[in-house]
C-alpha cells in the first residue's frame, strides 16, 4: 500500500464517520416545537387559573402531556432507525427527569410534603439538570449554558408568587429551550450540508 492510498483510506474513514454523525445528529425540531407548544399551553393554563376555571386545568395538563408525547413521537428522528449512544443517553436522561417531575408534581404535594407553589421551582431545577446534560451529550455549549437559564428561572420562581411567575416561565422556556433548539437546528443544517 502506497502512502497516498493509506491517506485516502484514512480520509474516507473520517468522511464516513462525519457523515454518519451528521445524519444521526439531533435536528433541534423537538426542542423548537415542544418549546413553543409548552409556552402556549402554560399561558393557557395561567389564563384558566385567572378565570377561576380550575377544573379545566387538569384537562389542559392532560392535553399538554398527550400533545408533548405526539410532538416527541414525530420529531425524534426515526427515519434512519439508526441508534446512537448519544440519543440513548439523551432519551434516558429525559425519561428519568420526566419521572421525577411527574412524582414531584402529582404525588408529593398531595402527601403534604411541600405546597403546590414549590412544584415549579423544583421542576425548573430538574429540567435545568436535563438541559445541561443534553448540552454535554450533543457537545453544544449553547445548550449547556441553557441549563443555567433554567436554574436562574428556578431562583426567580422561588422569589415571586404572582403572574410574574408566568413571565419567568415563558422567558425560561424561550431562552432555555426554544433558542437552544434553534441553535441545534442551525448546527444540524450546517453539518448536513457540509
Amino acid at each position: 500500500m502506497e502512502r497516498e492510498q493509506a491517506q485516502q483510506e484514512i480520509s474516507m474513514i473520517r468522511e464516513m464517520i462525519e457523515k454518519t454523525k451528521a445524519e444521526t445528529a439531533e435536528s433541534g425540531w423537538f426542542f423548537i416545537l415542544i418549546g413553543i407548544f409548552i409556552m402556549v399551553a402554560t399561558s393557557g393554563i395561567a389564563l384558566l387559573e385567572s378565570l377561576n376555571l380550575h377544573q379545566w386545568v387538569w384537562v389542559a395538563l392532560v392535553v399538554m402531556l398527550v400533545g408533548g408525547a405526539v410532538i416527541g413521537h414525530f420529531t425524534i428522528e426515526k427515519k434512519t432507525r439508526v441508534r446512537t449512544y448519544a440519543k440513548t443517553v439523551w432519551v434516558s436522561t429525559w425519561t428519568a427527569c420526566s419521572m421525577a417531575i411527574l412524582l414531584m408534581t402529582f404525588l408529593f404535594p398531595f402527601l403534604d410534603l411541600y405546597p403546590m407553589s414549590t412544584v415549579p421551582v423544583l421542576a425548573l431545577l430538574v429540567i435545568g439538570v436535563a438541559v445541561f446534560v443534553t448540552g454535554v451529550i450533543f457537545e453544544t455549549r449553547a445548550v449547556i449554558y441553557s441549563g443555567f437559564v433554567w436554574w436562574a428561572g428556578a431562583i426567580g420562581m422561588a422569589l415571586v408568587f404572582d403572574i410574574t411567575r408566568l413571565y419567568i416561565m415563558l422567558a425560561t422556556l424561550f431562552l432555555g429551550w426554544v433558542l437552544p433548539g434553534i441553535i441545534l437546528n442551525r448546527q444540524y443544517q450546517r453539518r448536513s450540508h457540509a
Partner: protein, 103 residues
C-alpha cells in the same frame, strides 16, 4: 513503507465495503441493514456477504427481528470489531508517518 506493514493490515477490514460498514458502525450504536445498503450504495447480496464475513470474524453482530410484518436486520459493532478497527486505523496512520519520514 515496508512490506511487513502491508502484511500487518487486517485483510478482513481492508475490503472497501467492509471498511465502509465498520466506519459507519463505529459512529453509532446500531444501524439497520437498509441504512448500510443506502450509504454504501451496494446490493443486498453483496452487503449480506460482507456482513457475514465480519460476523464470522466476530467484528459485528447481527440481530434479526420484525417491525410490524417487515423483517428488520440490525447490525452492531462488537468490542472485538472496535479494537480491530482502531488497530487498523493506527496501522494506516503508521504507514503514512513512516513513509513520510522515509522520503
Amino acid at each position: 513503507m515496508n512490506h511487513a506493514q502491508i502484511l500487518q493490515l487486517d485483510p478482513l477490514i481492508h475490503a472497501p465495503i467492509r471498511l465502509g460498514i465498520l466506519s459507519i458502525l463505529v459512529a453509532v450504536e446500531s444501524a439497520p441493514f437498509s441504512y448500510l445498503k443506502d450509504r454504501l450504495d451496494t446490493s443486498d447480496g453483496n452487503l449480506s456477504t460482507h456482513l457475514t464475513k465480519l460476523e464470522q470474524a466476530g467484528y459485528v453482530s447481527i440481530e434479526k427481528s420484525f417491525q410490524g410484518k417487515r423483517p428488520l436486520t440490525t447490525c452492531f459493532m462488537t468490542e472485538m470489531g472496535r479494537k480491530a478497527f482502531e488497530t487498523y486505523l493506527e496501522q494506516l496512520e503508521r504507514i503514512v508517518k513512516t513513509t513520510k519520514s522515509g522520503e
